[in-house]
């Protein structure tokens, strides 16, 4: 934190129909600082950032850039002012290559206005290389994992020469290693005087990268603190307005009979020799680095990827799953890694929530709207989805609240086996605790949970057993309490740790 003030916001106000998203928010950003923007789901963080990036317009308030008032009219205008943003929801064009996406709209050209392809690829390689992103710029974005897409998205904005960088939950899909690289890069930018406004629900990052933090609650500013002299608990209290006593509430549940058994599974040219058993009432954590095959495993069990060989048994009976429809019929549920794959954006909450269990609300072929509303209302309350307006299309919910709707859908489905792929991605501290409590409740009802997560503390605290995957195989298995953070990381990179069974 060296230079003077570069950006000042005064009394920023924004209303959406039925929601006062930002209520008289002030904020100042200093040259060369990383400023954390914190708050619960729906607090208004993304709205504030989007106003600065020109993708939505404020209702009132003043924005001063280097002391001079500006009206940011659109994204292009923001860019000419030196402001760049990485959006919370991925916004790449799936059908184009990584390089084309990075230079979208400003492709390097040759004389005559034709696009200079080799030049573009070289430049893209340079940008990706400086971030340490191992992605081929010639690959289409459609074929990238969520983490790779997120890295591409970041690279795209970093390729612009910006003075103010807005990052909306850039690390929600990143592994620790990618995150470390990103942070290294951000520190470099800070050294060059670039200012960063940064939101995240990963509390550890506040201290790791932040200089100051501003907390929003219900659209209002609660306060700004210097990170160095604010304890994590203080920040959490500012965010949620109360103390959170137990961050990882783990209810002991008796472990029952096997609900899901996988034997010698082989799939998608990646998975090999996968064998494990999931029991009723058990949370089986699956940890691994990017590309280790966790999501592929989930997708093959759910009928979204083809099995080459191997056996899958549910409740002791062998099943063959070639589509999600069949998987659901056998009592398997799956929350996708990318929540946009799980929601119908224009639909309201209840129809989204009952989408995977329409049988439950159909009587003699007729959808029972009253029952559907009842189920929707109950889960909205259980998960504290905000705002609790059932008819609101889910695309108008904040990212974290959308994630809760995805979870609600599978809670409504009465599945016996639930596969959660990064279930807490993008949801706030309070809501994480609620999700963990819910997982406990599900286990008590006899559900078996496969929890895929890159959050080591989460896996260590919640899982009854942990599988670590490495290059498509199960590299290690740990019982609860047996492993440390170190062990998981070592196994995940293929080094043998202690207490491990070689697969």
């Amino acid at each position: 934190m060296s230079g003077g003030e570069i950006l000042r916001l005064e009394g920023i106000d924004k209303r959406f129909p039925g929601v006062h998203a930002l209520n008289q928010v002030d904020l100042d950003l200093v040259e060369g600082e990383i400023h954390m923007l914190l708050g619960e789901n729906g607090a208004g963080k993304s709205t504030l950032l989007k106003i600065l990036s020109g993708s939505i317009l404020k209702d009132s308030g003043r924005i001063l850039l280097r002391g001079r008032p500006v009206e940011i009219t659109d994204a292009h205008h923001a860019r000419t002012l030196g402001i760049g943003m990485v959006y919370q929801e991925l916004s790449l064009v799936p059908g184009l290559t990584v390089a084309e996406n990075i230079f979208l709209g400003r492709w390097p050209t040759r004389a005559g206005g034709l696009i200079n392809w080799p030049e573009m690829v070289t430049q893209a390689e340079a940008v990706l290389g400086s971030l340490g992103v191992p992605v081929d710029p010639r690959v289409r974005v459609r074929n990238l994992s969520v983490a790779e897409q997120q890295l591409t998205e970041i690279a795209r904005v970093l390729a612009l020469d910006v003075q103010i960088l807005l990052l909306d939950e850039p690390t929600s899909a990143l592994s620790d290693r990618d995150r470390d690289r990103l942070f290294g890069f951000l520190r470099g930018l800070r050294g060059k005087g670039v200012s960063v406004l940064y939101t995240s629900h990963r509390l550890g990052e506040i201290r790791e990268i932040g200089d100051r933090a501003t907390v929003l609650r219900d659209g209002r500013k609660v306060g700004t603190v210097a990170v160095a002299d604010a304890a994590e608990d203080t920040v959490v209290r500012m965010m949620v307005g109360r103390d959170i006593r137990e961050r990882f509430p783990k209810t002991p549940v008796p472990i029952g009979a096997p609900v899901l058994t996988v034997r010698n599974l082989r799939a998608s040219n990646l998975l090999r020799d996968i064998s494990f058993t999931l029991h009723s009432g058990e949370i089986l954590g699956v940890f691994g680095l990017r590309g280790a095959g966790r999501t592929t495993l989930a997708r093959s069990l759910f009928g979204l990827a083809r099995l080459e060989s191997g056996e899958v048994l549910v409740n002791g009976g062998g099943i063959e799953v070639t589509s999600p429809e069949e998987a659901i019929r056998h009592g398997i549920g799956y929350t996708t890694e990318d929540r946009r794959e799980g929601l119908v954006p224009m639909m309201g909450l209840p129809p989204n929530i009952t989408l995977a269990s329409l049988d439950g609300v159909t009587r003699a072929g007729i959808i029972d709207h009253r029952e559907e509303q009842r189920i929707g209302a109950r889960l909205v309350e259980d998960l504290r989805i905000q705002p609790p307006v059932l008819s609101r299309p889910v695309r108008l919910l904040s990212g974290g609240n959308q994630q809760k709707v995805v979870l609600a859908k599978w809670l409504a489905s009465k599945s016996r086996v639930l596969i959660f792929d990064e279930p807490t991605r993008g949801i706030d501290v309070g809501a994480k605790t609620e999700v963990f409590q819910l997982m406990g409740r599900l286990c008590a009802q006899g559900v078996g949970l496969l929890m895929l997560s890159s959050e080591i503390p989460e896996v260590l605290a919640m899982a009854d057993r942990i599988l670590v995957m490495h290059r498509g195989r199960i590299a290690a298995e740990y019982a609860r309490g047996e492993a440390t953070q170190e062990d998981l990381l070592r196994s995940a990179v293929g080094l043998s740790g202690s207490g491990m069974e070689e697969a």
Binding site: G219, E325, V344
Partner: protein, 330 residues
């Protein structure tokens, strides 16, 4: 994030009631400038003329909601109507067989559309464009390019269409044209399917986000096939009504109605990209087109200009619709 309901009634009306407002403004204007517009007989006339478009538009609504488009509705209608007419006038079938035959034909054609699109992995636009030409061709072969029954056959062979079919197209119950009654019944059916059946829900989900529908266990292909079959079915209904109204079927009847049906759906506020829409809106959209055509006639606007105006109105209403969606975040 203070709660204050979900917008005032004004925003709500602007959000949902766009087409209704347009219809009232239009009707109000025409009532003011043309006394004849206000008469009951003219009103019934508009209803009768709007009916066939409205019937086709019901199936079209479901197709568009599911993320597709059906360019073949008018051609399927012509083939279904022609087949019914041929069976009734020339093959001597009874109405109890001849009318269902038309409906079955329409449904079958729609089913074929759905199968070609899903199993053949062909874009909806192309598949139904192909069906549009093919069905017209088959109708021409079937009728040998003549009306059914043609004047000659009617006189020489005493081949007539049964009175029940004529009634369907030109009769009236309690002063209301039968086609309008059929259109309302079809719209009710469409509304029920959309609102209360798994198929309707699946169509909304598939059109809103195909991937989400799939991972939620919806059989996407089956839903899309069913939606096209439904569109074929309503085209069959339209074929019977139109044949009754014209007193005969012909292979080229209703040309251009596929575009009118799409116009009605879009005017009714259904999202052309799928995922949201209502049958009631479509009915209102069809009425807007009907009232507009009627009004232009009454105002002695030439047929050439009528086309121009129709086209412009569709574009203007849709621009307005997009604007209010953005402005009010519908």
């Amino acid at each position: 994030m203070t709660q204050h309901g979900y917008g005032s009634w004004v925003t709500r009306l602007l959000l949902k009631g766009g087409p209704i407002i347009a219809l009232f403004l239009l009707a109000g204007y025409l009532s003011a400038v043309s006394p004849h517009f206000r008469t009951t007989s003219n009103f019934m006339n508009v209803l009768a003329q709007t009916s066939v478009t409205a019937i086709l538009a019901v199936g079209q609504t479901l197709v568009i909601i599911s993320g597709g488009i059906d360019l073949s509705v008018a051609a399927m209608m012509a083939l279904a109507g022609s087949l019914s007419a041929v069976s009734l006038a020339y093959w001597g079938w009874s109405v109890w067989l001849g009318l269902p035959l038309g409906l079955a034909m329409g449904t079958l054609l729609g089913l074929l559309n759905g199968l070609v699109i899903t199993k053949g992995r062909i874009p909806d636009f192309i598949a139904t464009l192909g069906m549009m030409t093919t069905a017209r061709g088959v109708s021409l072969l079937l009728t040998q390019g003549l009306p059914v029954p043609s004047h000659v056959t009617a006189i020489q062979l005493k081949a007539y269409l049964p009175p029940e079919l004529i009634w369907l197209g030109s009769g009236a119950v309690l002063g209301v044209p039968v086609p309008a009654v059929v259109a309302v019944a079809t719209a009710l059916l469409g509304w029920t399917v959309l609102h209360y059946s798994r198929l309707g829900r699946s169509a909304l989900a598939v059109g809103g986000n195909r991937e989400a529908a799939r991972v939620s266990g919806i059989n996407v292909d089956r839903a899309r096939i069913a939606v096209y079959a439904f569109s074929g079915f309503t085209a069959g209904i339209g074929g019977l009504v139109l044949t009754g109204r014209l007193n005969s079927a012909n292979a080229l009847m209703g040309e251009g109605m596929e575009l009118q049906s799409i116009g009605a759906v879009v005017l009714g506020g259904t999202n052309l990209f799928g995922g949201e829409g209502t049958v009631v809106g479509t009915a209102v959209g069809a009425l807007i087109m009907g009232v507009l055509g009627n009004g232009l006639n009454l105002l002695n606007v030439s047929a050439f200009w009528q086309r121009v105006v129709m086209g412009l109105v569709i574009i203007i209403v849709v621009i307005f619709d997009q604007w209010r969606r953005r402005r009010f975040g519908a």
